[in-house]
Subunit: 347 residues, 4 copies
């Protein structure tokens, strides 16, 4: 059920509708748009009777929703969402660059990269303190010590920190030290974790699972949003196919497909998608050209010594070159003007 | 590192080797075989120096392991493992039948199925109290109340309970009420959860992820075992491919592939693999014929009213017919004699 | 358009209906069933007006067909088809064994295998004279000389010859020397070739393409049948997926899926599906258990010397052992009684 | 075997080496590069003895080739190939635009599109006279009549004609009426057809098969080249995966992967890859950004009336808008200077 308010509906009208929704035992999600507010209803098992709402003041329409998703949908929020991560935005029409090493290894390693990333004009820094590794015997990350190093990066370089959490303890720590909780591809359908991050106020970068369909990705975002955290950024990082020339197959067509259905920002990860240093640059260019809101890229001061995924990391020099190339490309494409900031609109 | 003991090595010899391993800061996993015991070493970052062990009493050989897995491996344990689940075994040469509804819905529904399952001679009962659903708005399971119903099934019918946990709270509850913790396909690479169940003493049914390779499945089992819980049963439940005539593609070839590498039991789930009632019977027959240690099958007293996955559930009548067919087939194939029980061997 | 005749319709009634179809510029395909004959209409661009037929003598019904296939369909022919290949049948309820080497290499090699295959009771012999190889520099087969060797096998051992053709010249030669034209997976959508074999009177073994959906496979058969050759046997030989433990993923679920839609026989190729000798036996057992009409299996007197695909070929000893195992299994499953022979029914 | 000539080797030296190769029963393929000529040897079953060549005048080196391909390889021809198609080039550093309807339907339809395509500055026109359709009952193309219409397009608008052939008769007709033979995805491993087009002098546009690996695509090109036709243009048109939001998954990562291995040009087909009108523009931009040599795009004067694949065709207005966007993008990326023309270099 989606309740569309009239353009001149007051805050009191909106509160009254939400009150009725809650009285019925459901949950109401107000989503202000440019000209009017829509209110999503979740928590209902079957159909909701629209007559509860149709005659309330300020209500324009009460629409039954047949699609499996509501909160991610363009129906609810026709514009595009801009998500505030720390002190900067993703989805506001600029090209968000999120760069840094795969794993936090040492202060020295992290600071070397952060200096270059900050100088390049990027506003976001990535780096893993908890590493999901296929083998239990591989390097598992530095944990809270790693997060502390990342927090220092923010203090010194003004970069906003994007870092992965793999469980509830990890989420609590990322909320404490970081600016954006990354949910990795292998946890995209870890519904308990999705609900837990949905109860925080920290933005979430949600990576597409290795074999997730578009619907599954959007419904994973819906899990987070249905708990009240609307600040979700989607990320395409390659899917698993038969093709063996890259580690995964970067599926750029998901960018226009998401645009048709959802107001959420979508970024591209050319590093994990390819697994090869030499592919990162052309795939990053393609990501900008297809219209992504940003890129997340691995940079390591010394890729051949990286404790994980060194083969795909760019050197600092390569990153600087790529960054200026992408800026030119983004300008040439002359993308749409800035979107409305979602979390502010909801305040 | 794998340390192979001589056939006449004493318990004291084995304890001494484990003591040295622990003194070096690693972890030792003793795996008695029919004629000799092997001891796996985990926790080492790089290569372990074999000279620490070669001259200890009772040691036959110290072998460097280059494969990414150790504890699941035939190298460590040449026979096949038989896992005790409640009061019965999986992997002992008999055909383990695990049957029941997808989700626990009510006492009535569960008991109707349990009566038939018990009468058919099956020793294991399945049923989900926590349901991983693609949509946050779909039925999510009855939680602890559902587990209590399952515990009653065990008391009344003597069936051993196999049921899914999706997070740490769920694991604690399944340990309390059930006999085997099921880890679902979507959580196969939820490493935090794998480690957590690895710290319990309850057997684990580990389902293959939708796009998991053989190595990834085996390494997920290795995660559990490296924490000290060796009672892992693998489960093939269909993989995601382009084919659209079944919900997933049942990959029976993984059964012989696992036999070559691992001592762990492997069962087949024809219900989730196909998603269609009419396919369950032929796929179940194929699962027995390919040599699986058991089957997990959905049965519902009234499939068209099921709250989840009704399309694939068998009616009780269908299940009874299938069960007798599979028994005939299993006899005709005249499978190998019983394996050694693993958890007892380790006692 | 499908015209269903009354049970007591005469041959003259059927001829009259076909005459009207041809007069309208279409093509009529009479398919006698156990109790009545159905006549498929092909060649129409849009809908055909049923009033042309409804009042003709002997006509029970004229049904519009909305599915993309007609001739392969159970609607047209409710029973199962039994296809005569040389002097034996595939699809008559017996288990058809088609065995032999991947490629014809020499008289000696072929005769050694043929002797064992014939002694085992199999009625069909396979062997390629034209080999579709991924590399232009790999062994391409012995061509017509190879076919002559196969013809000698038929003369000496009474085995019916199944062998691949890759182009029109090859089809002409297989028609001349062999009993069944195999269309390989890579040519499953080579529509010109499908039409060409559809114009012969020789049965066709049509292998599923590496990434063919069920519909695409059935429509490839429809291409052949729409030209007038109704003797098509389908073959599942593994599909291409991300899984890397076998060369392809054997998709046994296509067997029940085909049974629901089509009267055509379906066999399984465990050799190409797996690519590994050790997997052939368990996958062959699964193929019988899932209900396939037969198996096609590679046997080589000396697999390690084979010019192609040696890794998957069984030794003659292995084949003999497998064959007796499969016979026991087929008996235990006690499959349906014999189907009506299709090509005879159409005579 | 690859024979590398000295920079100062004469034509007579090269001819002598080829004479020796042919005397040994093999085939020599001279490939002049910027500074030196390399000669590929094909037709050998096993290793070729390098001593036959090492001491001949003008020979710098004779190298054993262990990769399965030779003629497509950068080892043989370090620069990039530029292929002359009619009176224009593909692979010369410009962005080759190949536009037109999926199928030739009528003079009127074709001319409307051709006028716009020519006015936009494109040099190549596409349109199918033979259509590979999944169903035998779908529109199969206008055949030779369609090709005659395309030949008129060349005469009137100066556009070079790229059109598909599905069999040998079709190849003969495309050689007669067209400028470039397209081999469709379903025929990528139709080796008889590949050899046949390899014996013509007409350039070939080779589309990647739906489940073809990089190696299989390159080896399909090698089939054509090993017959003497070196003018092969590769085309990525989407692969078959589990993803369902687009008809196929456009695998742009194959562009950099091919650049590392091969001198052949590679173009992108965003129309077939996506199957949706709204995705063509963003995927086309991505194709340019990733570094493809050109694009092949469907344009129809009235997409909703198209006899095949209307859903993905651009309107003429959309095409004109896209074309100018791509030109800006290609300029911004400032691609490498022109390559050497391959067919001229071999003259």
């Amino acid at each position: 059920m989606l309740i569309v308010m009239k353009p001149d509906a007051t805050e009191a009208d909106i509160s009254r509708v939400i009150g009725v929704i809650e009285h019925l035992g459901y949950r109401g999600h107000a989503m202000p748009g440019e000209s009017r507010t829509a209110i999503g209803v979740t928590g209902n098992k079957g159909a909701v009777d629209p007559t509860h709402f149709e005659n309330l003041p300020g209500v324009a329409d009460a629409i039954r929703v047949t699609k499996p998703y509501k909160l991610i949908s363009n129906d609810l929020r026709p514009g595009r969402s801009s998500i505030k991560v720390g002190n900067a935005f993703i989805g506001d029409g600029s090209l968000a660059m999120i760069a840094g090493p795969c794993a936090v290894e040492s202060v020295d390693q992290v600071f070397k990269v952060a200096e270059i990333v900050a100088a390049s004009g990027a506003k976001f820094f990535r780096g893993g303190a908890f590493k999901p590794r296929t083998s239990p015997y591989a390097f598992q990350g530095k944990g809270e010590d790693g997060l502390k190093i990342l927090a220092e990066v923010r203090d010194q370089f003004g970069l906003n920190i994007v870092t992965e959490a793999m469980d509830e303890r990890g989420v609590d720590l990322v909320v404490k030290y970081g600016d954006c909780i990354q949910i990795g591809a292998r946890n995209m359908q870890n519904y308990s974790l999705l609900k837990y991050v949905g109860q925080t106020k920290t933005p979430v970068l949600l990576k597409r699972g290795l074999s997730a369909t578009l619907d599954e990705l959007l419904l994973a975002a819906e899990y987070i949003m249905s708990e009240g955290n609307y600040d979700v950024i989607l990320c395409e990082r390659g899917i698993r196919t038969f093709a063996d020339h890259a580690r995964n197959t970067l599926d750029i067509s998901i960018v226009p497909a998401i645009r048709r259905l959802s107001h959420l920002p979508i970024i591209i990860d050319p590093s994990h998608a390819s697994g090869h240093n030499y592919m990162v640059e052309p795939l990053a260019r393609a990501g900008v050209a297809v219209g992504a809101d940003g890129l997340i890229i691995e940079v390591h001061p010394c890729p051949q010594e990286a404790l994980c995924d060194g083969a795909q990391a760019l050197t600092p020099e390569q990153y600087v070159g790529l960054n200026s190339q992408l800026a030119t490309l983004h300008d040439a494409l002359n993308v749409r003007p800035g979107a409305v900031e979602m979390s502010e609109a909801l305040a």
